[in-house]
Symmetry: D2
Subunit: 407 residues, 4 copies
């Protein structure tokens, strides 16, 4: 190992060490009676400290673990390097080369995994298309994302899905927490650290009032901002109103905003007309899916000048006004900060670990379908979280249970 | 009309006048193009100003309206008296006589209504059991409550339901608003007016973190209280935690509480052991279903003395300590205050009006089943609310719609 | 005693009983080692249950107590009746007759009190003007209000003040708590109970951002309202902004408000031009000094019709719009609800009790001046409050104290 | 200029460029009619982008400006390099050499400044002790900090202060905003970015409830934490209670805390006994004066191992538990983040600019004393802030003014 590799290794271990002290659900799972002995697990995930610690957890439960990235740009080389010291096979490196990326996926399939933990379904789709010989040994797939689930449901509809799949994303412990408390906090963490601007007293426009938007609005408000919300769903619009926020058309709200955060799930939240009406000095950040919500190409077209004015912040000069965009319109908490807080990922990965254990036990009874996350496991993760915090809660008495059943 | 009747009439008109100025959705509906002409509607509801104004609205849309109560104790005689001046047939009076109450229900069925608006399903069940001759003309039922829906689903399961039923209670515009913002506010309105105690700085225990509990906790917190939550569902318990509240077993939390509000849906939230550990001077209020959450009979048994210490507040002396119960453990916002805020009932009754219109138009296509509230109507009510407030919201552009469909 | 008197007596006792259970600071003071033995105390106060319990407390400390009202309309006859049973001399009754009112003040002075507890300074001014013979025995005055303090400072400036006066109103434990938490809560208690309207989602304009305005805005926000603030002081205006509220000129904000609460300390917060621009259905309430903030006479002049539409709520029809005024523009929490929460008055009256004890001990050393409330007593009341709540706090260690002094 | 200098220069200009777009009060002042023409101003400040922009502003008003640091470690060399391009004389560099630091101070005095802008009073004290020859030309001093003010008041008491001094720190626009909104936000910005931990649901202990503590508690709460407060002042303790926080002795609260933030102004907030009772994994951060609040040397002594576990985070292993300290116990927002938000410093520096202008105009009328910040200037800065935000506020009418004076 050369010096650079040693440095990477050290840095990677430090990162894993930090998260290991805060991923208490994974720590509890390591100490529980579950076994993944004799199973080979192929993981395709954003390879950083928190996912690494999930891999380590699966290894501690007895599995052989084979890890690669799920996006060529998101692999952290230091973590990849350190992960090898835990007896885990890693084929991953930060790269802009798609061939190399798919090469790594193939390498993982070469090991003929029993279970796949997928993030976006690249690995599973590859197995079902170019590498069908590995399907024989494959017992199940646990998929993290909405997009991945959609792709796998397509396989199911086409009749070519050959394994049961569990959709982790629709677990209550995921969508109710990840989006609201995770995105809510990390969006503002990112905006604050990248701008050093005061949030109190600012006019903040949150575009979209789904779980993410709710979390972002709640925290903006908690930081002293005056919050405005735009929505296309009238029910969510009324909810935003009742939560004390101003609601209106984006073309009326955006020109009054000091900060605009998009979390709509659609593209081009701001059109040219609205862009031209924005305040001088407005800050734009995206917390929704993908990087299409803020129309970067429109900004590029309209700008007479564009330059990086602060790390992660670009300034577009349009009609003599400054428009600041954080993290190039990509997910602001990932592209320009550290992503979700550790404890949020700990919950999500406990869901993943339980999903894999469940598949290893039940795969024979399951059909080759995409399953909703089992409610029982969902509750078990919630109980684990309470246990990790040392919190006990009530149970229904027999009388109460009977009373409930009496209706 | 004697003087007492004249006074009742005047008082009833005043009450209806006040709500008519704040039930803007019903006012908008009155001006819309809908017609209930030629239809007879039988209503069994808590007869007070807000339900009266719903009856008036249906009348204005062209229906013949026949009204009685749905609970012998909840009829307000002044409103009943005034309602007659609007050309509505009323058979109702506050009474403790069950026979009289059922007599009124029969009188309503005598008119052979085309549609029934029910609250608890007494009227509909009567029609299906003792008065089946009226079913011939009956086209549909709109049911307000969970309990009523459960009873009607039972009829469906037994194969004796003869009309389509719409369950208004599961409209999003109902359960997301009524329980959270309605119960949330009115519970504290009631506690404050009945005790004149300061909420800021108090330890408030909210038992149950469903929609009601969330609303009650949110408002307690908004009034400066320190909020504790007890729950039996681990997922809701984690949610309460993330919302910044203390979570634990009720036996540990209750003895530290200054105010306890129950919203669990089960009976006997406090057992004898916990009662004996309560703080001297604790205030108990129930905001959940029925009056079984606070175990009144247990308090009666344990108390060495019981007396009314303030209007609507009873003091139980137990082990030398004072335990105060508001509104005898019945729904604190109804039994000891004015129920939900007017605008909340306005939304709920707009749902009802739309439900009846929908039944009048579609009953031939509908099966004799209990239907969920139609999503389209739900959104329409939300839009109406926004219109009443003069608020416009965004619509998806064609490009955005295509983008959404592309997944 | 006739039946009506018996009923009054019973009702008065019930009211006193309730507050006695929640005025824990007064209860603690009753058990402490202080003595007012041998002293006659003349009290001129709003005679209701809480002030009655202060009188009872002073009596228990050994004083002879003589009570009258400080406003002809605020005396509660039932409490006056019951108070006599505690061995206290009462000359007070609800009346609209000024002569009778002043007659009662004279009766109190006839007893030649050693100490006066005044609210508005009527009693003290009377002693200094028409009844100077009583000054000989008078040792000190404790004055509750700003207005009273101003009047007594005038006496001081004119050189005719003959006793030391303690201004209770400038105690930190008073203005920081009474106005913010007391007015904040009770204003909304009153608005909710008198209108049954939903606060969530409403546009609320708070005129004035002093301690009262801050409390009212904080609680409006805690009930889900969107809060706007008008101010004349630029520093307070910036503070309101940073607290997340919209700030602007009242002529721009008022027309967008659903509810307007005045707490400015000045008259005529709304002029004719603004009144004509108000929303149809706006609710006006005053939480500031006196009843001049909402310009009632302007409303009267402009209205084509005025009538009581709900108890405590008048409707003014102006330009075809409804303008609702609660409690005739008088202090909304007093005129149309129960005033400050019990615990807030408990703190204020603990300040009063300590003030009287202090005067009884120190009057010989004090000059005939109006004194600020002694800081030491202020802290003592805070400590008592913590003790009543069973809360212990830290003390500086010797090292820490030295460190602080080292600067 | 070599390449490194060029890089520094570029980076410095970028930083200044960013803040220049957000320091709108300084921008407004630059455009106003004030003149500092013909005056030499010596500045000793933390030399970074925001202070640099203050220097630039003074230069634009016509002054000759001479800048050095006020702390050997806080100078940012890139900003120092860039500042020279604005025609400002800079003698400063990041260094650990005290001699060099004092050398720079002497260099500034060599220019015989007319006015001094000081931060900690090193420059002014040097002038009064070793460099009295410069006092002849010195017309006044504007001092930023409490510590500096204390030192200069000492000079005054000793009779050796030779110029008028304005204490900027006691301006309302400073202490009410800087500490509450500035420290409040930036403390959590720093904790989040340095730990990536979730704040929602955490037990946060805020030690001290002064302006800083209030801000920190308010924001912790706004991020979803459950907040506990320790205080030595009983009045502040009751205030914290009424604000909805748990209050108690630190020895009882600290062992339940997940995060502890100190803002007390005293040393050794945690003693050995408490340290031993802390939770495994607790995070400690200091937001108070100096780095003595968290007893680092006690931690060092007790720890069996100490290591950097994440950038800016040290882990102390004590009794088998991990105790994490951010930024070595120094001011967490400065030592491990970007200090106060830009707009907060903009307000503070507008106060400074006005202070210097005032001194330049009035120095002949002023005594050689430390003056409180003039109320009129304070309001002027508030007005400027409102103007920068495009907000207009009310003014009292003549009638209202008369009404106020009538009391």
């Amino acid at each position: 190992m050369n010096q650079m590799e040693k440095n990477l290794q050290k840095s990677g271990h430090q990162k894993i060490d930090w998260v290991s002290k805060h991923m208490k659900l994974l720590n509890l799972i390591q100490e529980m009676d579950y076994s993944l002995s004799g199973l080979k697990i192929g993981m395709s995930i954003h390879l950083e400290a928190k996912t690494a610690y999930l891999a380590i957890t699966l290894k501690k439960l007895g599995a052989e673990v084979f890890v690669t990235g799920c996006n060529p740009l998101s692999t952290q080389d230091d973590v990849a390097q350190a992960l090898k010291d835990f007896g885990i096979t890693v084929h991953a490196k930060r790269t802009e080369d798609e061939n190399e990326y798919f090469g790594f996926l193939h390498r993982i399939l070469d090991y003929k995994p029993d279970l796949i933990l997928d993030d976006g379904a690249d690995l599973t789709v590859l197995a079902h298309t170019q590498r069908q010989e590995v399907l024989e040994n494959l017992k199940g797939v646990s998929e993290e994302t909405t997009t991945g689930v959609r792709r796998l449901k397509n396989l199911q509809v086409q009749g070519i899905l050959k394994v049961p799949v569990i959709a982790v994303n629709n677990a209550k412990m995921k969508f109710m927490f990840d989006n609201r408390y995770g995105t809510g906090q990390s969006t503002w963490d990112s905006i604050m650290r990248n701008t050093n601007l005061l949030i109190a007293g600012k006019n903040v426009l949150v575009a979209g009032y789904g779980w993410c938007g709710r979390g972002i609005a709640m925290r903006a408000h908690g930081l002293g901002a005056k919050v405005m919300v735009s929505e296309v769903d009238p029910i969510k619009a009324v909810e935003a109103l009742m939560d004390g926020f101003e609601v209106g058309k984006i073309e009326e709200l955006a020109p009054r905003a000091d900060i605009i955060v998009t979390a709509t799930g659609v593209r081009d939240v701001l059109n040219e007309e609205i862009i031209r009406k924005l305040k001088n000095g407005v800050v734009l950040a995206n917390a929704g899916h993908f990087n299409v919500e803020i129309p970067i190409e429109k900004l590029e077209k309209l700008a007479t000048r564009k330059y990086e004015i602060r790390q992660n912040v670009n300034c577009y000069e349009i009609d003599g006004k400054d428009i600041f965009v954080i993290g190039q319109g990509r997910l602001v908490n990932l592209a320009a900060a550290d992503g979700h807080p550790v404890e949020i990922m700990d919950i999500s990965f406990a869901l993943q670990a339980f999903s894999l254990i469940y598949l290893s036990q039940k795969y024979k009874q399951l059909k080759n379908e995409v399953y909703d996350y089992p409610e029982e496991l969902d509750k078990q993760v919630a109980k684990l979280k309470l246990r990790a915090l040392g919190i006990q809660i009530d149970e229904l008495s027999d009388e109460q249970r009977k009373y409930l059943e009496s209706f």
